[in-house]
Amino acid sequence: MKIGVLVNEGPYTHEASDSAYNFTKAALEKGHEIYRVFFYHDGVNNSTRLTEPPRDDRHIVNRWSELAKQYSLDLVVCIAAAQRRGIMDENEAKRQGKDAHNIAEGFRISGLGQLVEAGIQCDRLVTFGD
């Protein structure tokens, strides 16, 4: 089955990103296709590569990146929500005249249309948030 996942909260403050990760991993292990994981609202904060949690805690950002690599996942960060919250890829940073970019490996920045499209293409869309 084709499943889309929407993550509306950032890492660490709220369990939403952990739940979404565990759900996504379980779905992949059961042989389902995860069509896309879309990060919206504060969920875009799951994509900053500057995240550095204590060594004895889980690394939420890297965990997503690794899962994306292992399963060729499409991790999409909403551009409008990302711009509000200071998440940028190299192109966007250049376009906005910023001196740095911070998006982690495996994530890409794109438009909200990608969320609607996931809703159209997927058999199910599951939302995680606060």
């Binding site: 929407l6 509306n8 919206y40 609202h41 409008a80 929500a81 438009g111 909200l112 249309g113 969320l115 609607v116 499209e117 809703g119 159209i120 293409q121 869309l125 939302t127 948030g129």
Partner: protein
């Protein structure tokens, strides 16, 4: 506003319901939720919005954010009609519990009691909640 609009997805039309349960300004969910709804209009889907619990407050007339320094986005609900998003469902129980009547709302809505709205929700293909 974007110059590349009217994206059709191979003629698939799904029923999308955006479920609004949060008050405006206290959190960003109402505003960013509305941004998704506006984008969804470009995909030619069967889109509706449900206003439940504090989501009803999003539609309250007379919002004035001048002293807040936030943008008053309530007039944007009145633009939805021009986007062909005309199915705005308000749950009667939520509205009445908050001491509001239809006259307090800034757009025309369909007021539904909980059983009607529950049935409407159950028949959706995609529910996205904020």
């Amino acid at each position: 506003m974007s110059d590349e609009m009217d994206m059709e997805e191979g003629g698939v039309v799904k029923q999308f319901m955006f479920v609004n349960r949060k008050a405006p300004y206290g959190t960003i969910y109402a505003l960013e939720g509305l941004e998704v709804v506006l984008i969804s209009a470009a995909f030619e889907q069967d889109v509706s919005m449900a206003f439940i619990d504090d989501g009803v407050y999003e539609l309250k007339k007379g919002q004035d954010t001048k002293e807040l320094g936030q943008k008053n986005f309530s007039p944007t609900y009145r633009a939805l009609e021009g986007y062909d998003i005309e199915k705005l469902y308000v749950e009667r129980e939520s509205m009445e519990a908050r001491g509001l009547t239809e006259d307090d709302l800034l757009v025309d809505v369909v007021v539904m009691d909980r059983a009607e709205l529950a049935a409407k929700m159950a028949e959706q293909d995609v529910l996205i909640s904020f």
